[in-house]
């Protein structure tokens, strides 16, 4: 025991001229900072959570409110009827307001409903894309734009995904709260106008007129 005790204490060199110090490991300089302290503490609490696959939402050139909307949709946290019921909100009926047929969950409302599915087909036809589409919002978003079509601009294509889902949601709300009727063509038109206004406002060197731009949609999304 004495041996290992001595072994232990001779490992460290004593430097009489220096002071004993503390070193903060997370910083290269060894000095504590609240920034790295926060990272250590919060990283500790959230170690197990890895949900990074849709982080690119924040890199798209779109308004923040649209990004937050997409973030909620991808996490399935929009107040659809299914989600409201899960949170004990009284909802008169559970059916989708567009088709009056199937329960209104996000996957149905945005992607599988007979009123919205054709919108996706239509937009895929612009860029000659033919593919099966995943069921959940998250998978749908992840696949959208990673499909290989000739020269598809993946970022713009993802922006389109957000513009279209955003517009579907706006129109759905008008149906629910203002008794409006849902017209697929109007949705496409509004969504295109919305996307064009984002590009125009946020992309440098984008100065096409709307009519010009929307009459050549293949060029709008492909090289």
């Amino acid at each position: 025991m004495a041996d290992s005790f001595l072994g232990e204490i001779t490992q460290q060199q004593i430097h009489p001229q220096r002071e004993d110090k503390w070193l903060w490991k997370p910083e290269p300089g060894g000095h504590y900072s609240t920034k790295s302290g926060y990272h250590v503490l919060w990283g500790e609490l959230t170690e197990e959570i890895q949900d990074a696959d849709f982080a690119e939402i924040w890199k798209l050139k779109i308004p923040t409110k649209a990004a937050v909307f997409a973030w909620r949709l991808v996490r399935d946290r929009l107040p659809t009827k299914s989600n409201l019921r899960r949170r004990q909100v009284m909802v008169q009926d559970m059916v989708c307001p567009l088709c009056n047929n199937i329960e209104e969950g996000a996957a149905h409302l945005f992607f599988n409903c007979t009123k919205t599915l054709p919108l996706w087909w239509e937009s895929m036809s612009w860029v000659n894309l033919k593919t099966a589409m995943p069921q959940t919002p998250r998978q749908h978003f992840l696949q959208y734009g990673t499909d290989i079509a000739d020269g598809l601009k993946s970022k713009r294509w993802k922006c389109w995904w957000i513009a279209l889902t955003w517009t579907i949601w706006q129109h759905r709300n008008k149906v629910v709260f203002q008794n409006a009727t849902f017209h697929g063509n109007k949705v496409l038109e509004d969504a295109l106008l919305l996307l064009w206004s984002w590009f125009k406002a946020l992309e440098k060197d984008f100065n096409l007129h709307f009519n010009q731009w929307s009459s050549g949609l293949r060029d709008a999304f492909c090289n």
């Binding site: 025991m1 005790f5 232990e8 204490i9 001779t10 490992q11 460290q12 060199q13 004593i14 430097h15 009489p16 001229q17 220096r18 002071e19 004993d20 110090k21 503390w22 070193l23 903060w24 490991k25 997370p26 060894g30 000095h31 504590y32 609240t34 302290g37 926060y38 250590v40 503490l41 919060w42 500790e44 609490l45 959230t46 959570i49 890895q50 949900d51 990074a52 696959d53 849709f54 982080a55 924040w58 937050v68 973030w71 909620r72 996490r75 946290r77 929009l78 107040p79 989600n83 949170r87 909100v89």
Partner: protein
């Protein structure tokens, strides 16, 4: 307040928080919104007291805390007297909380002259146990349980003994 800003609602009413707070506070790259968690941030700010008390010794405020309450050492060991101020006791209490442990764990000793490190109780060798915990029987018979390295060893050319 941050919650109400995010999800809506008035001072006396709440709205549904659609995503749990832990997720909201994740960095965007990890799927959150990158909002700062204030409780955690508060802990890291309080951690500055600990650090500054250790390093800034020439400043009047640090001298006062050193002589009055025992400074960083008292903070580290959580020892306070009954006459200490409420503020100091509170600070000590925050430093003993569970959620402070990572901050202590990420701080290591760099041995200099052995003037501040307690030979038996501090973690200064290359292991994750103090000498007290590693050699409890030696510690028991030592008459210098609280002493620093400097007080216990003498320096010779070959090192110290």
């Amino acid at each position: 307040m941050q919650r109400r800003f995010l999800w809506g609602g008035e001072a006396d009413s709440r709205k549904i928080a659609w995503v749990n707070w832990k997720t909201v506070c994740l960095p965007k790259a990890k799927g959150g919104l990158g909002i700062k968690d204030l409780r955690t941030f508060n802990t890291t700010l309080l951690g500055k007291w600990r650090w500054d008390l250790f390093y800034i010794q020439q400043e009047p405020w640090a001298k006062v805390l050193q002589s009055k309450y025992g400074g960083w050492r008292a903070l580290e060991e959580g020892s306070s007297g009954s006459k200490d101020s409420a503020w100091w006791k509170d600070l000590i209490k925050t430093q003993q909380l569970q959620r402070n442990i990572p901050l202590k764990r990420e701080t290591i000793w760099k041995v200099g002259g052995g003037d501040r490190i307690k030979f038996w109780e501090d973690l200064w060798t290359n292991t994750d146990l103090s000498l007290r915990d590693k050699f409890p029987r030696l510690y028991q018979i030592s008459c210098h349980q609280q002493q620093t390295i400097q007080q216990l060893g003498t320096i010779t050319n070959s090192g110290w003994e």
